[in-house]
């Protein structure tokens, strides 16, 4: 292979060459929204790290640039970590974009049921439409053992059913005390 390092690699010339190291990790995705998702990894990731997430949904590969927001050691589950990531809107959400798929589904749902939505800019916290529409879980419904705090705010699962092809389960807001 006819290739050589750039000459500027020499430290005597007061410069260095930067390379990029790309590592591929196999992970698992627990949930997804238009803004981010929850991952499980075998090793911790640094908060702020950026990566490219690839996932097959409905037989189609979707990718999204993500940034790590929070990392929680998942004690009791083989030492894995739960990693909250946010999507980075570095480019318009195309057809192969995970973020775009979720946004489109939300938009379709909103147009069908909520013709006049309020948003955060109007002072609405952004969840009122779901609170109205989504039936609350009975008090006897116990949250998932490992994601009780996460499930407490998770709702509107029917929104994603077409995308996930029936592979999603309902996750309702608990009734307020």
């Amino acid at each position: 292979m006819a290739w050589r390092l750039p000459q500027r690699v020499s430290h005597e010339k007061a410069s260095v060459t930067i390379v990029s190291l790309t590592r591929t990790k196999n992970i698992r995705v627990y949930d997804v929204s238009a803004g981010g998702c929850l991952l499980e990894t075998r090793e911790s990731l640094p908060v702020g790290a950026v990566g490219l997430l690839s996932i097959d949904i409905d037989g189609r590969r979707r990718q999204e640039w993500i940034r790590v927001c929070r990392v929680h050691a998942n004690e009791g589950r083989r030492g894995t970590c739960l990693v909250s990531v946010e999507f980075l809107p570095l480019e318009p959400a195309g057809t192969d974009s995970l973020r775009g798929a979720m946004l489109r589904l939300r938009a379709v749902k909103s147009r069908a049921r909520f013709p006049a939505l309020s948003g955060r800019s109007s002072g609405d916290p952004g969840k009122s439409e779901w609170a109205v529409d989504t039936p609350r879980a009975p008090s006897s419904a116990a949250p998932h053992a490992d994601h009780g705090d996460l499930n407490s705010s998770c709702n509107a699962i029917e929104l994603a059913t077409p995308l996930l092809n029936g592979s999603a389960r309902a996750c309702h807001k608990p009734a307020k005390e």
């Binding site: 292979m1 060459t17 590592r23 698992r28 690839s54 952004g126 969840k127 699962i157």
Partner: protein, 108 residues
Amino acid sequence: MTDRRLNPRSVFLAPASAQLRMTVDAEIESWRGTHAVVISSCASTCGDELLVQVMADNNDVVSWAATVVACEPIIAPPAVRYRVSLSLTPAQSPAHADGVAITSTSVP
């Protein structure tokens, strides 16, 4: 619940398998044939498979599949870094799909 989350989430019945490609920058310390030593801010484990990308003089990005041979910390201010020894094999570049810009910077 705080107002931290803005969008309703959809939960998989069973966790879905996915791949995450993380890219970090590293500085070449030495490069001899198929063996390279780089300085990185992230630690690696012996046996880890990495993709090393570097920009050549003609601005082409050259990719190498690398296996981590050794990794040792460099404890010095301002932050801990790691000296990573790599065994290299020429690889095909994934067409910039996941590449972070490869740049050359001057030492202050």
